[in-house]
């Protein structure tokens, strides 16, 4: 009896092994298969399934194999290490696993400049004619500053300060447009036991500091900072930015730092909904993220660009990115697919789920609430885009940690502005020598 059981078990193991071989061979043989890997973000994965279906209708000889996952890096990362690359990847920079940054640093992306000149499948216009001007001239799309686009801009979202519009209305407080007005509002609010400011995590200071830098010294100054220009952090413009963040310490809700680590950041966002803090830096996704959270009576989302340091107010435009790995096997179909993402059909599907493509006249098709957020640029705020220039990876050195994570230490008083600035200068020096 034991022998029979052993034989059956052995046969089962052998058959399973053979079955897995068969599957793999089947995959390898379908040459017209386009492997698309996308991050399943707050917008969900259903819209991607619909877009892939539409693309298959336009390009009949292509069969799309979609992989959508919340932890996309875990799914495709190990396969990529083994040489199995997707053809198209939708995954933004700024993620903890930093797969996109690694691909940029390693020069492992395909040049997409020719995609901009391609006609959008099913339409008579080119991709570049549809994309809002400026979106393909940023360091987030052209990381090597060689006028070549390696990352296609996707789903944009203005970032700025979110607040309870009803609270300000009820209290009769004006929305501040300069930092002096901001501090004055802070003093008034603190007198009533309401804090001026909170932030979800220190990482949210990226868009905040980018906007402040542009407001302090203009776009050229902002670009100097992003390119690690020597001496840029010694300027009065840079000091003004760091001083503002340091002054916010006195106006920030005291439990913010404790809740800004790990998975507790929603508690900080809740402070705004509860009317315990007025402003928080965030992006349009916060509305969906806090959709089920309890809130103060009459709560109404408000959104504004950052107060001006000098003349202009800025709102950082965050957008996601889509790219084709250099090792992709089906590059032609991949290019077609990326071009299709800017079609009216695809943009319409994305918009139904709240994801807004950076194409002209898209804001007309948005919901009323989203229109409020996206109209920030029509109400006088200027847009600033992109992030730090790509460098070779420098071991143990991260501008992200030094510039943004350090805000927590500023808020707890463990670091002074001078210490912070000298650390930023030291890290900038190291990264400048390793610019790609």
């Amino acid at each position: 009896m034991k022998k029979i059981i052993s034989i059956i078990l052995c046969a089962f193991i052998c058959l399973s092994a053979l079955a897995s071989c068969r599957n793999r061979n089947a995959d390898n043989n379908s040459s017209a298969t386009l492997k698309v890997a996308v991050l399943e973000s707050a917008y969900g994965s259903e819209m991607w399934e619909k877009v892939c279906d539409e693309f298959e209708k336009v390009s009949e000889d292509v069969n799309v194999e979609l992989t959508a996952d919340k932890n996309l890096e875990d799914v495709i990362g190990s396969k990529m290490k083994g040489g199995d690359y997707p053809d198209v990847v939708h995954l933004a920079t700024g993620r903890e696993a930093a797969l996109t940054e690694t691909m940029i640093k390693e020069g492992a992306l395909t040049d997409l400049s020719d995609v901009l000149d391609m006609k959008v499948p099913g339409e008579e216009v080119t991709v570049s004619e549809k994309i809002i001007p400026g979106f393909t001239d940023t360091l987030a799309t052209n990381p090597y500053q060689n006028k070549k686009t390696y990352l296609a801009p996707m789903f944009y979202s203005p970032c700025g300060l979110f607040y309870d519009a009803n609270l300000l209305r009820e209290k009769g407080w004006e929305l501040p447009t300069t930092w002096d007005e901001m501090w004055a509002l802070g003093d008034k609010a603190m007198a009533e036991g309401i804090y001026l400011f909170t932030y979800p995590t220190a990482g949210y200071f990226d868009a905040f500091i980018y906007s402040l830098l542009a407001s302090s010294g203009g776009v050229d100054f902002y670009n100097d900072v992003m390119n690690y220009r020597e001496g840029v952090w010694d300027t009065s413009e840079a000091k003004a930015v760091l001083d503002i963040v340091a002054k916010l310490k006195d106006y920030t809700e005291p439990t913010t730092v404790a809740n800004s680590t790990g998975d507790n950041y929603l508690k900080n966002q809740q402070l705004v909904l509860d009317g315990k803090a007025i402003f928080m830096p965030n992006g349009t996704w916060v509305v969906e993220e806090m959709a089920d959270a309890p809130r103060a009576d009459g709560f109404e989302w408000g959104f504004t660009a950052l107060p001006a340091i000098k003349d202009d107010r800025y709102s950082f435009t965050f957008f996601e990115q889509c790219w084709i790995p250099q090792e992709a096997k089906n590059k032609e179909a991949a290019r077609e697919f990326v071009a299709f993402l800017y079609s009216d059909k695809a943009a319409q599907i994305f918009a139904e789920y709240g994801a807004v493509q950076p194409i002209l006249n898209m804001t007309d098709k948005l919901s009323e609430e989203n229109k409020l957020f996206y109209s920030v640029y029509e109400n006088g705020a200027k847009a600033v885009m992109g992030g730090f220039a790509a460098t070779e990876a420098v071991e143990g050195v991260s501008i992200y940690n030094t510039l943004f994570e350090a805000v927590n230490s500023i808020m707890t008083g463990d670091k002074t502005v001078d210490q912070w600035r000298s650390e930023i200068i030291s890290v900038s020096d190291k990264l400048r020598n390793n610019l790609k």
Binding site: E73, G77, M80, K81, E96, A97, A98, L99, E101, T102, M103, K105, E106, G107, A108, T201, A202, P254, T255, T256, V257, A258, N259, S260, T261, G262, D263, N264, K267, Q326, E327, A393, V394, E395, G396, V397, S398, Y400, N401, E405, A406, V407, N408, S409, T412, D414, K415
Partner: protein
Amino acid sequence: MKTSKSFLFFCTFPALALFLIFMAYPTISVFVMSLYKWGGYSAAKTFVGLNNFRALMEDDRFIGSFRNSVILLVLVSIVTLFLALWCANALTREKIRAKGLFRVIFYIPNILSAVVIAAIFSAIYDPSRGLANSLLSLVGIEPVMWLGNRSVVIYSIAIAMIWQATGYYMVMYMSSMSAVPHSLYEAADIEGASRKTKFFSVTLPLIWTNVRTTLTFFIISSINISFLLVRAMTGGGPDGASEVFLSYMYEQAYTNSSYGYGMAIGVVIFVFSFALSALVNLATRREIVEL
């Protein structure tokens, strides 16, 4: 004779092959990769010799994560060891009602996943509504930012680790304590030995082998569990104050695109934990008391 040798070979080959493929090869790969500058995904690898290790020596954040790991290792091991021994002794030797219930209650944290433990302690450490600050307010102490204060955060994680580990080691010690013959305690009673003497002169020498084994477990599990809890509770924050070995290794290997550097950190962890285990083993060597 020949048949017996080939029989032995065929019997051991599967296990040996698995060991070589899944243990030896990855370990050697870590050592090899630590000598390269590599992002982890592309074929662009550059041999840099010991540069990664030189950079480690000057990396303040690595030194901070090393210090945090050592604090957790020492603190958690010592406190857990004492608590587990004390609880095990009480539940084995003392007449306590509902011993079985206590045994289950103490063991429960061990079957919870690290994410659940992190969620429980995040609620306990909540600055405004958490249990910890509510207790402090009863005795008039100002609220503590358990996860937001750079000097406190690592100890907050240590408390969660101790809570998680005590039950597991307690059960291990209880199993060896119950193997100690009752007659020895009766003899000690006749000699007039106190509880303390009985514990140090009878119980501890007889379970010493078990205690020594668990010391190695403490080293390995402290390194692993601290990573899981730090990732879920603080993400290494605020501003890197709770970074430990493995969380820093992850950050460098992935977030900072320095896979080779991350592997160099892996090598340091490997050598450190190996050396520490050997040292602890050597320092705790005693003549084995057998019955």
